[in-house]
Subunit: 114 residues, 2 copies
Amino acid sequence: MIRKTIDETVHNARGGEGSVVFSHILTKEELMGHANVYAKVTVKPHSSIGYHQHVGNTEPYYILSGKGIFTDNDGTRSEVGPGDVCVIKVGESHGLENNTDEDLVMIALIINEG
Amino acid sequence: MIRKTIDETVHNARGGEGSVVFSHILTKEELMGHANVYAKVTVKPHSSIGYHQHVGNTEPYYILSGKGIFTDNDGTRSEVGPGDVCVIKVGESHGLENNTDEDLVMIALIINEG
């Protein structure tokens, strides 16, 4: 079957600023208990996903376009762009900010602990 | 941690034509038994992923850029492009062809049966 994503706009995602659009590629049911979210995520200009912890799962960010600041589990803040994979381990924390005038687009997969 | 994908070029993928580049976002170990492959997949011009069955897992294709022909489980062939999600159920078959002069880029996730 060919279909489109299911889009959901979240304001102040994980305590962040502005708006983030989650374009869900699969539903939670289709993830069959292996993962909780699988989506293209658009962090709108001057918006962010607040720093938050992943208990019992992890969430790599794979950056498709735009530029952002990734905050890693140790608090390090680094500029990220297309092709970057931002990984944390189960139980660790992260956040992502878009301080630019362009969309920051990435793929997020919240995958459960093994 | 911020890193790049691990790229792997496959010729005649699943019995298809030409070359397909798998840019692995996570390793199989990092997928913790929930999934087998999570990658950005570039189907090069005039290349294809041959029609094949998914036993014990499924694999949605999420098209990022370019145009292709998706063959669904019932043999239907449809043109797909950016934003399209091509889903099959566990046990079903699919294939993807790029008959254009541009790359066809998508995200593939081979997720195990529930």
